[in-house]
Amino acid sequence: MARIQIGALRKTYPGARADTLHGIDLSIEDGEMAVLVGPSGCGKSTLLRMIAGLESVTDGEIRIGDRLVNQLEPAERDIAMVFQNYALYPHMTVRGNLEYGLKNRRTPRAEIDARVTEAARVLEIEPFLDRKPQALSGGQRQRVAMGRAIVRKPQAFLFDEPLSNLDARLRGQMRVEIRRLQRRFATTSIYVTHDQLEAMTMADKLVVMNAGRIEQVGSPMDLFETPRSLFVAGFIGAPGMNLLPVEDLRASGADLTGLPGTTSVVGIRPEHLLPDATGAWMALHVTVDAVELVGSETLVHLGAAGLSAPLVLRQPGAARLAPGMPLRVGLPRQHLHCFDAHGLRIAQDSTDPALRELESRLDALR
C-alpha cells in the first residue's frame, strides 16, 4: 500500500498550443479513495494515465510509495487499472484474464490459483471462470475487470470511468460494491469520473478539475458546503446550485443590502430556496414555469423578468404548484454563497457588524 504524491506535474502534447495539465499538486494518502471529477477535456483522464505510465510526463514528478516512477513502464509501477470498456482480452477465458498479469510476473502456479480463487469468491464470479468475456453481461464483465485488478494486489487501483458503460441501476450497485472492495483491501485508489453523483458518494478525497487545473480538493461535504469557486459550485450537486448575477437580482427588484461589496454572483442551492417568503430578507417575484414530480421530492422551475437563467427550487414530497402560478421565493441569508468577479468565493465569516445586526433582526422576525 502506498501514498501517491504528485508534484508540479505538467503535460504538453507535442504540437499542442496549450498545456493539457498546468502544474498539478496532489497527494493521496495510503488507503484513501481519491476521485477526480470534471467535465470532459479537463485533464482528469490524462492525469490518471500519467500515473499509470500510459502517458509520458512533460515536467514534474509522480511518486508511488517512495519511488519516483516518472520513467518506469506501466508494468513496473505496481498499479492495476480498470478501464471504461473493461479491456478484457476477448479470446481468453475469465480465468485467463485474471491470470495473465500474474503469469507475466512469473508468479508461482499455486499462488496464482490461490489469488484467482480468492478474487472470484469475493466478486462472486466463480461460475463464469471458464467462460469468455462475450458470454458475460456488462455487470459481470465489470466484476472481472475488478478481479483482474484485485488479483495483482497492487500498490494502487486506478479507475478510468469504470461505470459509464452500465445502466443506471447497475451503476448504483457497482458504486457501492467498488467502495466496499476498496475499503476491504485498503488499497490507495484513484477514480476518474465525470458523474458528480459518483464522485460525491465514493470519494474520501474529492478533486474537482477544470481546464487542466485543480479547482478544489477536499471531502465531498466540504466541497458541497463551501465551494471555492463558481465552477465547483455549479459542478457539485444535482440539480446544480442556482447562480444569480447581481445585476439580475437588482433588475428583479431584490434588496441587496448586506451583500459583500465585491459580490458579482450569488449562489443558492435549490433546497434552500423558500417557496413562501413573506417577510424574508431577500426575495424575488417569480412565475412557475414547470413542475417535475420525482416522487420523493418536487423540482420547481421558476422564471422571472430580468433573470437570465431559470431558478430551480427543490421541495420534499409533492408541491401543490402549477405552471403559471406567481410565487415569491425567499433567499435565506445563511445559505447564500457569494462569488467575486473572478468567480472566487468571498469568505463570509460574518464579521461585518452591519451584517450581524441584520441577521439578528431577521431571526427576530421569524
Binding site: 487499472m81 478501464f83 479491456a87 495473465y100
Partner: protein, 282 residues
C-alpha cells in the same frame, strides 16, 4: 414485409437458375468431356452426358501424364501448385502481419514513408513490370527455384492494409491493459494480437491461396525445369499440343483437377471467403 407477388417470385428463381446454369455450363461440358474417349470429339457432336471413360482419363492424366505432350504427370504439378500457393499465402500473411504491427503500434523515423512505399506496390501489378522483375530474379539466379517462384509475389499492400485496418479497430485499452499486465511488444503480439487476428488470417488465407494457385504468367516465365511446373501452366502446355493432336478428354480432366482445389476451398469456406474478399476490397 408481407408481399405476395407470385409472378415476381417465379421470375426471381428463374433468373437465379438461369444464372447458375450459365455459370456452370462450361464446367459441365468439361466434366462430361473428361469422361469420354478421345474419339468422341471429332465430329462436332459433343456429348452432353457423362461417358464411361472417366476413370481411365483421370488416372492417365494423374499418373503418367499426357501421351505425346511430354508433360509431367499431373499429380506432381498439383503438388507444385499446392506448395506455391501455400508458400505465397504463408509468406504474405507473415510479412503483412508484422509490418502492419510495426506501422500501427510503433513510431519510428520514416514510418509514413514506409507506409507509402508499401502502398505503391498496389499500383504495380506484376504484368505491368514483368520484364525488369524477371531480370532481377534472373540476376539473383533464382530462376527455377521456389524462392524465385514465390518471393516476388509475396509483398502485399492489400494484406498489410487489411491487418492495419483491423488493428485500428482494436481498443487502445487492450494494449494498455496488456502493458499494465507486464506484456512487452512481442508478448502482446503473440498472446493477444495473433489470437485476435485468427478470423482475419483465415479469411485472408482463403483469398491468398486462390491468388497463389491461379498464378500463370510468373511461373511460366521463371520456370523452365518441368520439376517446377504448376498445374495451371501444365494445362496451357497441354492445350498447345492438343491443337495439333486433340486429346480433349485428357485436357478436360486436367482442367477439372486444376479447378477442384481452389473451388472446393471457396465452397467449403464460403463464409471466410466472402469476408476475406469484401474486406480486402482488392
Amino acid at each position: 414485409m408481407i408481399e405476395n407477388r407470385r409472378w415476381l417470385d417465379i421470375l426471381t428463381h428463374a433468373v437465379l437458375i438461369l444464372g447458375v446454369a450459365i455459370v456452370a455450363f462450361p464446367v459441365w461440358v468439361a466434366l462430361v468431356a473428361s469422361t469420354h474417349p478421345a474419339g468422341s470429339f471429332a465430329t462436332g457432336h459433343m456429348p452432353l452426358l457423362p461417358g464411361g471413360h472417366g476413370w481411365d482419363n483421370y488416372s492417365t492424366v494423374l499418373g503418367s501424364g499426357m501421351r505425346g505432350a511430354g508433360s509431367e504427370p499431373l499429380w506432381r504439378m498439383l503438388i507444385n501448385s499446392t506448395i506455391m500457393a501455400v508458400l505465397i499465402t504463408a509468406g504474405k500473411i507473415a510479412i503483412s502481419l508484422t509490418s502492419a504491427y510495426a506501422i500501427v503500434w510503433f513510431r519510428f523515423p520514416l514510418r509514413v514513408v514506409c507506409f507509402w512505399l508499401i502502398f505503391i506496390t498496389l499500383m504495380l501489378p506484376v504484368e505491368v513490370r514483368i520484364l525488369p522483375t524477371f531480370k532481377v530474379v534472373a540476376d539473383f539466379g533464382l530462376l527455377n527455384s521456389w524462392v524465385g517462384l514465390t518471393l516476388p509475389l509475396i509483398a502485399s499492400a492489400t494484406a498489410t492494409f487489411l491487418f492495419r485496418q483491423f488493428f485500428m479497430t482494436l481498443p487502445d485499452e487492450l494494449v494498455e491493459a496488456a502493458r499494465i499486465d507486464g506484456a512487452g511488444p512481442m508478448k502482446f503480439f503473440r498472446d493477444i494480437l495473433l489470437p485476435l487476428s485468427r478470423t482475419n488470417i483465415a479469411a485472408l488465407s482463403v483469398i491468398l491461396f486462390i491468388y497463389g494457385w491461379v498464378q500463370y504468367l510468373w511461373p511460366t516465365l521463371v520456370t523452365t525445369d518441368p520439376k517446377f511446373y504448376t498445374v495451371v501452366m501444365g494445362i496451357k502446355r497441354m492445350v498447345a499440343v492438343a491443337e495439333a493432336d486433340p486429346q480433349w478428354n485428357f485436357v478436360m480432366a486436367a482442367v477439372v483437377l486444376a479447378m477442384l482445389p481452389p473451388v472446393l476451398v471457396v465452397i467449403f469456406m464460403q463464409r471466410l471467403f466472402v469476408k476475406g474478399l469484401i474486406e480486402t476490397e482488392k
